[in-house]
């Protein structure tokens, strides 16, 4: 019997004797009506020992292209930033990853202090007053922020956003708003890939505006202007931001934003095909009690020592049930821990330099695409760490498969998310990329023969 069970046959006999049962089956029969009990074993693969299973998993893992085996220029909301070894070392301590939500504060000060430090760091990078202890991911955090705004701004039901916001984030918003009393307005981005159109869309019915800055195309938005307009109309402003970008750019709080959300994957969390990730959320003080998710706060113990506890729990579903602020009752402590360690290591200077690397190297890549015959830049103007490229040959999927086969994850095809961009792909450049990587990217992309690309596309 593979696995982790403890009881020997003699243990089982002794335990049954103490219970006064003949068998476990007898106990089960007393609980589960025989009519609904399974009459056959589960149809699952046979038990696998560690050695055999690991060897199988190694083969399975080796069959995937990855940012370890390939040079990565993919972004679109998840980025190949460098993760210092210290982050893994800390997060792999059993005391962190095998503990649970800190219900018993006296034996959870480690996690609680980390949550408090995380919240402080999030305040520092957002320039806002209050952070929660994290949400599921950047996408659902954006939607939670909208729900929070809808609950805060009474009797308004309109939510305005732009198609320069991550398409998946907008999909989530649609799914959540489907059954509740809310109207979603999506303003198209301008030729230059930014969302000035929002300014015209804001009206007295508007509960909130959701913008992304830097946006899905890597472009910078006029957040302050939009925030001013929204506030004038009595609406709240939510910004989805890139935590790395604030090494150089003004923070959401500095731009007048009410609620900031972000995908925290970039802060020391691995890509792992999309999750688990880290939903960052911070807001102004007066929205504090509308905030979803766990929050750790400072207090004192009976001896007068400073300590930390979960707090503001009256917002939560344990107590408020259907009147809760949100149904979320977990947070991503382990990923928040990783972000906390990551930001502790980087410090202000490290965050700034990381942002600088992104900007400078992304610009180097842009220049190469601009100089290329086959490709063109879709948007002019400054970007942070990614940008949209058009393939004049048109078959982006085949082009990118060609690159993958040659060791380069060249970018994110945006066609599947937005058909109007079907001949385009996003190229992201992090601090990890080198001059040699850029050489390789261009060489591989320019070597993709248009006809071969088309042929490949038909077979895929």
């Amino acid at each position: 019997m593979n696995g982790y069970l403890f009881h020997t046959e003699s243990d089982r006999r002794e335990m049954l004797r103490a219970i006064g049962a003949e068998s476990v089956q007898e106990i089960i029969d007393g609980q589960v009506p025989p009519a609904v009990q399974m009459k056959r074993p589960l149809e699952l693969p046979p038990a696998a020992d560690e050695m055999t299973l690991e060897s199988e998993l190694r083969r399975l893992a080796a069959s995937n292209a990855s940012v370890s085996s390939h040079v990565c220029f993919m972004g679109g909301g998840a980025y190949d930033h460098f993760i210092p070894a210290v982050v893994d070392e800390i997060a792999s301590r059993g005391e962190y990853y095998t503990s649970y939500t800190p219900y018993q504060a006296e034996v959870s000060q480690g996690n609680l202090q980390v949550m408090f430090e995380y919240e402080t760091l999030v305040s520092q990078i957002t320039g806002l007053d209050v952070s929660n202890a994290s949400l599921y991911d950047g996408g659902s955090a954006a939607t939670e922020a909208v729900l929070m705004a809808l609950a805060s701004v009474k009797k308004r039901h309109k939510v305005i956003t732009s198609d320069a916001v991550h398409p998946e984030y907008r999909e989530i918003l649609e799914a959540y708003l489907q059954n509740i009393d809310a109207e979603l307005v999506v303003v198209p981005a301008s030729e230059s890939g930014t969302s000035e159109g929002i300014l015209d869309a804001i009206d007295e019915q508007t509960a909130c505006v959701l913008i992304q800055h830097p946006n899905f195309f890597g472009r910078l938005e006029q957040v302050r202007k939009i925030a001013d307009a929204a506030h004038q109309a009595g609406a709240l402003v939510i910004q989805s931001f890139d935590p790395i970008s604030v090494g150089l750019l003004k923070r959401p709080g500095d731009l007048g934003v009410d609620i900031a959300v972000a995908e925290g994957q970039c802060l020391g969390n691995p890509l792992q095909y999309g999750g688990p990730y880290l939903g960052i959320m911070a807001c102004r003080q007066d929205l504090m009690r509308r905030m979803p998710g766990r929050i750790a706060g400072q207090t004192t113990d009976r001896r007068g020592n400073r300590c930390w506890v979960l707090t503001l729990q009256t917002r939560e579903q344990h107590i408020r049930r259907e009147k809760a602020t949100s149904n979320i009752c977990s947070n991503q402590t382990l990923l928040a821990l990783r972000a906390t360690v990551y930001l502790s290591l980087l410090g202000p200077q490290g965050l700034k330099e990381t942002a600088e690397h992104c900007v400078v190297k992304t610009n180097q890549a842009r220049e190469r695409f601009a100089a290329s015959e086959r490709f063109e830049l879709v948007h002019a103007g400054p970007v942070f760490k990614e940008f949209l490229v058009r393939d004049r040959e048109g078959d982006v999927q085949a082009l990118l498969e060609h690159a993958t086969d040659h060791g380069v994850l060249a970018g994110v095809p945006v066609g599947p998310m937005e058909p109007k961009w079907k001949d385009c792909f996003l190229v992201a450049v992090t601090e990890k990329r080198t001059e040699a990587d850029l050489d390789r990217l261009m060489k591989v992309l320019e070597s993709a023969p248009a006809d071969e690309a088309n042929r490949l596309a038909e077979t895929v």
Partner: protein, 482 residues
């Protein structure tokens, strides 16, 4: 003694992280960005050396109790052993370093694993439609309710606006219903701690969308009326949602699909060995009947010939989070299920039930156990008598257990039991540990009230003041605290 905060250790100019210099020639980052977008300075993060950071977080970790260090019988949370092989395999670069937007063709191994996991949990649930996307149990509840809403909309039954939840249910049930746009009605428990059938009947009508059921319920009891319940609900044209929090009790013994559930979520971080990560990440994959599968969020993985593809179901509700889902968590569940395999999973539940009943057989001589002398994988005792006789609360008991080297059980839940003490030992604790726990519980009930009331005595801090924390919230460190 309180520990210094990172911010209090900061010293201007200290550094832990270094990047290679950017080329001296060429444009600077600042020159490439509009001046009005630039911050005057980077955020005021703490400045630390690497040795500081490591020592800080290593020492902090030791202030936590965890499954790796202590028995953690937290009811409803299934704090079982978190296998180290799961961590190692799930951390292989070919799994952990994969970008979420890579083409299907470039991630055959990931998709095969996810496809097989869909099949496996569908089989365990007895419900063939599977979405791995939800990020947590509560997220799974919400997602399933969005699926149910879409289904009714599609059938023109928009009038079904009520979700029924049991009074013993997790608070997430009514909260999720609310978020999905439903109104909720509470169904009472009867004296045995099971669903009160008369109350259920009285609340079922053609406005009922879903009855959200936890079975085994939060008292650790399998509802013996399950067929009546599901028949009643189905006769009313409504759906049964199963809160899968307690699946660790019934793996291979009975399947939600077989006892009438139409939708359910799993908590892989509970049932399939977590880990819990200090509160997350978890995952909340959902399984549904075939007629609901088309409404699931996308993407799901399909097998076409020998190839695996991600596709969106035909009438999908859309998506409930970015990208595929919590793949890292799901990978651990996959490894766990493969480890036990067809032979083992039933044994997991049997040992979980055996352990809980064994502990119950000891505890019921120490505390009241209002709902019988048998249970599934957990049971709920009551400290009511202790309260009356010694003015000690369930909370006092919980705190004093910490001094004995045990994490506390869940207390004050479910709400239907006074001074509830909810104990879930799981299958990965030895008889010796269960004996020691019962012994500690007994000793505490014999101790002087004063000792218990001021517990814990041996932990890093004594009881914190929760009231002040909530009344005058301090939610971050500020410069003035320095």
């Amino acid at each position: 003694q309180a520990t210094k905060l990172l911010f209090e250790m900061s010293r201007s100019g200290r550094r832990a992280h270094h990047l290679p210099p950017l080329p001296a020639e060429g444009e600077t980052a600042a020159s490439l960005l509009p001046a009005d977008q630039l911050a005057d300075a980077p955020p005021p993060l703490p400045e630390l050396a690497e040795g500081d950071v490591v020592r800080h977080f290593v020492n902090l970790s030791t202030l936590n109790m965890s499954v790796d260090t202590h028995f953690y019988p937290l009811g409803s949370c299934t704090m079982k052993y978190n296998p180290k092989r799961n961590e190692r395999m799930a951390s292989l670069p070919g799994l952990v370093d994969v970008h979420p937007l890579q083409s299907d063709r470039s991630v055959p191994g990931v998709l095969q694993m996810l496809y097989e996991l869909q099949q496996m949990i569908g089989e365990i649930a007895g419900l063939p439609g599977v979405s791995l996307q939800p990020a947590a149990g509560a997220h799974g509840e919400l997602t399933a309710l969005l699926v149910a809403a879409a289904y009714y909309r599609d059938r023109g039954e928009d009038q079904r606006r009520y979700v029924l939840t049991a009074d013993s249910a997790h608070g997430t049930n009514p909260a999720s219903a609310q978020m999905a746009g439903f109104s909720t009605r509470t169904v009472k428990s009867n004296a045995q701690g099971l669903v009160d059938l008369d109350d259920l009947k009285s609340k079922l009508d053609d406005k009922t969308a879903v009855f959200m059921l936890t079975n085994p319920n939060t008292l650790g009891l399998f509802d013996s009326q399950i067929k009546e319940i599901t028949d009643l609900v189905h006769e009313a044209g409504a759906l049964i949602y199963l809160d899968g929090a307690n699946m660790n009790a019934i793996l291979g013994i009975t399947r939600p699909g077989d006892f009438g559930a139409d939708l359910m979520h799993f908590n892989p971080h509970k049932t399939f060995s977590g880990p819990h990560g200090g509160g997350g990440p978890g995952a909340g994959p959902i399984c549904v009947r075939d007629f609901l599968a088309d409404y699931l969020p996308g993407p799901v993985v399909e097998k076409v010939g020998e190839e695996f593809r991600t596709v969106d179901p035909a009438k999908t509700i859309g998506r409930v989070r970015s990208f595929f889902g919590n793949v890292g968590v799901l990978a651990r569940a996959y490894i766990y299920i493969r480890t036990y395999g067809k032979e083992g999973l039933r044994r997991v539940s049997e040992d979980a039930v055996l352990g809980a009943n064994y502990l119950l057989s000891k505890v019921r001589h120490i505390l009241d156990v209002p709902h019988g002398d048998r249970c599934m994988h957990e049971f709920v005792a009551s400290a009511k008598k202790l309260k009356k006789e010694k003015h000690l609360s369930a909370m006092d008991l919980a705190k004093r257990l910490l001094d004995f080297g045990f994490h506390a059980p869940t207390v004050y839940f479910p709400l239907v039991v006074e001074e509830a003490v909810m104990v879930e030992p799981t299958e990965t604790e030895s008889k010796e540990t269960l004996d020691a726990f019962a012994e500690a519980l007994f000793r505490i009930t014999e101790e002087s009230g004063d000792v218990v009331e001021h517990a814990p005595h041996s932990t890093n801090i004594s009881r914190p003041d929760d009231v002040i924390a909530a009344r005058k919230p301090i939610l971050r460190w500020t410069e003035k605290d320095k």
